[in-house]
Each structure stands twice: as C-alpha cells, then as structure tokens.
C-alpha cells in the first residue's frame, strides 16, 4: 500500500510545479525590456504579448518558392561601414574576422567565419519586411543563433537577452524566445552566394518574425546578459533608443 502523501510534502511540491509551468513563460517573453509610458507603452505590451501568445508554438515564418526570390536583393541604409576594423576585415575577405561570444555563456569564446560555417546550416527563403513598407524575398543560409550559443557551451540560467552589436555601431537585444526560434540565424549566404557587403557581410542576423530593423547587418559581437539596463539608453536597442518599438513584430 502506498503511503498517503503528507500535506507538507504536497505543499513542498507546489513551487516545483510552478517552476515547470513558468519555464519559458518569463516576463521577457511578453513585455519589452523597458515599457514606455502612457497609451503607447500599453499598446507595446499588448502587441508583443498577443504576438507571443499566437506564436507560442514557435511557428515558422512563411517560406516562399525560389521563383519569388529578388536577385539581386535590394540594399538599403548602410552598405559599407566606414569603420577601420571593418574595412581591414573586408580587405582580407574576412579571413581574420572573429565573432566574440561573451557574457552569460558557459564557455566564452571567439568563432571564425569558417567555424560558424562548419555548424549545422539552415537555408530559408523568407521575406525581409522593412518597417518603412518595402519587402523582398531572399534565400538566406546561415547557422542558427542557438547553435552558435551552444558552441559556447550554451547560456547560463541567469541569461535573459542576447545583445548583438555591429560594425556600423548598432546594437539590439533579443529575448531568449526569439533566439530559440529555428529561423533565427546568423546568415553568411544570400541567394546561393556569399552574403554581399551591401547586405551585411560577413554575417547578418535574420529574425524572420520581426521587421527589418531587428535584422542587423555587419555583426561584430554577441553578448549574453541578464538585463538591457547597461546598454545605450536602456530601452533594449538602438532603434528603441531612437523611439521605435523594441518588439518589431509589427
């Protein structure tokens, strides 16, 4: 006969159960790092949490047939950072380029372009959706961001955001739900060739469920953090420091 579970024992299991239910249901998944004031902030939270509830199955963004690819893919905004370090890497065809992965990972390290290319690759034909209104379809090839983080031993339990910064002096934070998505990749290929400089060589981020401005080009480093407070104005990214939405699913 099994012993009846004592009340104390049963109560002790509640936090554990709560922990299981709340896994992946963190505040960061539904609310921007810093909520703006007033109605605009309320709308930001509504938009992000509605999106994240609808996307709780981590559905893939639409992938299109080859016939819809834009080739050459349009270039927009920065196409060649003046940064001295960038120009040196570009002149060496990025042979000496290293992507540092630091912060809240088990084994901080640097990855060369070849090492990133040796990770399991993913190719996806998806639409780049610019917040300005234009959209174009490209075939992106790259390493999933979560595989890149796993190459550094994976994130520690305290990790909340992945911060990416670029040679043209942009930074953006991404919550772990976005990072875990299979289509979130560091792309080194476009339309079957190497990623052209005008589209962000050597690496550009693809976050297919958010607008173009979250798809950073010319990646310089990856840092895993527990808070966005120490970066820029603390809103979570360059675009939101300028007053755009941090969560760019619309």
């Amino acid at each position: 006969m099994s012993k009846p579970i004592s009340r104390r024992k049963w109560l002790a299991s509640v936090p554990a159960l709560g922990g299981v239910l709340l896994t992946g249901c963190t505040r960061e998944r539904f609310v921007p790092p810093r909520v703006r004031g007033g109605l605009i902030g309320a709308a930001d939270v509504l938009t992000m949490s509605t999106n994240r509830l609808l996307l709780s199955g981590q559905q893939l963004a639409r992938e299109f047939p080859r016939s819809e690819i834009a080739d050459p893919f349009p270039t927009w905004n920065q196409t060649n950072p003046r940064n001295e370090e960038y120009q040196r890497h570009a002149s060496e065809e990025f042979r000496n380029y290293r992507l540092p992965i630091t912060g809240l990972v088990q084994r901080p390290r640097e990855l060369s372009l070849d090492e990133i290319k040796s990770l399991p690759a993913r190719t996806q034909i998806t639409a780049h959706v610019c917040e300005q209104g234009w959209s174009a379809i490209g075939e992106w090839t790259g390493a999933p961001l979560h595989s890149v983080l796993e190459a550094a031993g994976g994130v520690t339990p305290a990790a909340r955001y992945v911060v990416i910064d670029t040679f043209d002096r942009w930074y953006e934070g991404y919550d772990l739900f976005e990072v875990a998505h299979p289509q979130t990749i560091l792309a080194y290929g476009l339309n079957g060739g190497d990623l052209p400089r005008g589209n962000g060589a050597p690496l550009r981020l693809r976050v297919e469920r958010q607008c173009g401005y979250k798809n950073l080009k010319f990646l310089r480093s990856i840092q895993v953090v527990d808070s966005m407070a120490g970066f820029g104005k603390g809103t979570g990214g360059t675009n939101s420091d300028f007053g755009f939405h941090w969560y760019a699913g619309v």
């Binding site: 109605l39 605009i40 996307l55 639409r62 300005q132 174009a136 760019a248």
Partner: protein, 238 residues
C-alpha cells in the same frame, strides 16, 4: 407618380427630431472619432515615408509599382520630408488597439442590449426595391431628412452601417495585420487571403480612401439632417 411609395414613409418632419442614442453608441462613437483621426493621420505619415504601392509579396524602390506618389507630383524626397514614420508607427499601432478594443466593446454591448436587432437590422418591409429606390432618390435630392430625421435610422443608413461594421472594418483590420511579420508568422493564411503583404498594404490604402469618403458622406448626411441637433443627440442622447 409613385406617391404610393412615399405615403408608406413617415411624413417629412417639419423640424429635425433628435435621436435617443443609447450610452453604448454615444461613448463608442466619440472614442472611435478620436481613434480614427489618429489612425488616419499616422497612417498618412507611414505611407509618405515610402510613397509607393505594389502588388504581391514583393515591393521595393525600383520594383514595378501599381501606384507612385511621384507620378502625382510629389517626389519621394518631398513626401519623405512630410512624413514622420516613427511618430506614425507609434501612434498607428496604439490607436489600432484603441480602435479594436472600442469596436469589440461596441459590438458586444449592442448585441447584448439588442440595439443591433431593434435599431439597425432593416425590417423586411424596409428591404423592398421601391422603398430603397425612394430613399436613394431623396438622398440625391438632399431630402434624406424624410428618412432619418424622424429619430430612427433609414434603410440605407442601417445597411451602410452594418456593412461598415461587419465587413469593412474587419477587412481593414486584417489588411493591417497582414503587413506584420509577427502576425503573419502565426496566421500565414492572411498572406494568401490578400495575395501577399504588398497587396495587403495597397488594399489597406484603398480602404482608407473609401473610409474617408464614407466619413465625408456621413458628415454631409448629418448636416442635411440638422447638424447641431444631430451632434447634440450623439453627445447627450437627447
């Protein structure tokens, strides 16, 4: 000639009567006015910052466009200087939520209070060709007050409100979110429904023009029926 048809209608009011609008209509109406004003102005700002429209999934500067503001005398740079899309996007998405929540409250409240059934669903005898023909003719003669000044809605008025609320507004909402990479990842059928993200953007813009025309006609009708009395009744309910 068809005096028989006219005699079926209530006699023309000598003076316009006010309409006893319930709270559910008055509160939602004025919230809606504010939300739509913000949506329109912010939407124009967003469009001015990329003043071309396309069809399908693809559209960028240099790609064949179905509409270019430059063809109508406003160059890309001049349009961009007029539009502020950061302001536009912040307020467009904020008031889209105000509009949507207000609309859901309005529909829920008026289904519950039976306002739709009692006041807005045209009765069978209102849906005859003769009746609608007479109303149409009177509208073009600037005599609509025969039909709507009596305190209840005319048939054309009821029909156009119902189409607006249950067909047009849902289509505007869906063409709006069909442009969003987040919502379309969750609901990719939106892209198929409208023929692509750029098609949705084009349809959303055409819908805006139609909505502005609706508001112009709506306000003209209010003027024709007696502006001050009608506006007062939409505020006080008396």
């Amino acid at each position: 000639m068809d005096s028989a048809a006219i005699s079926e209608l209530p006699p023309p009011a000598a003076t316009t009567k006010s309409t006893a609008h319930p709270y559910s209509v008055r509160i939602c109406h004025w919230i809606n006015v504010v939300a739509c004003a913000y949506l329109l102005v912010s939407g124009v700002h967003i469009l001015l910052d990329f003043p071309e429209l396309y069809w399908g999934n693809t559209g960028y500067r240099g790609y064949p466009a179905v509409f270019r503001l430059a063809d109508w005398g406003l160059s890309w740079d001049a349009a961009g200087a007029l539009g502020d899309r950061r302001w536009g996007r912040n307020y467009h998405f904020t008031f889209a939520w105000v509009f949507l929540i207000n609309g859901l409250v309005y529909v829920g409240w008026n289904l519950y209070s039976r306002h739709f059934r009692d006041q807005m669903l045209p009765a069978r005898n209102e849906l005859t060709v003769a009746r609608i023909g007479t109303e149409l003719r009177d509208h073009f003669r600037w005599a609509a007050r025969k039909h709507s000044s009596s305190g209840s809605y005319g048939t054309l008025q009821k029909t156009s409100y119902l189409i607006l609320i249950f067909v047009f507004v849902p289509l505007m909402t869906l063409t709006g979110i069909a442009q969003s990479p987040g919502f379309t990842a969750a609901m990719p059928w939106l892209l198929d429904l409208f023929g692509g993200r750029q098609s949705a953007r084009t349809l959303h813009t055409i819908g805006t023009v139609l909505l502005v025309l609706f508001v112009i006609v709506h306000v003209l009708e209010v003027v024709a029926a007696g502006f001050l009395i009608k506006v007062r009744s939409m505020i006080t309910g008396k």
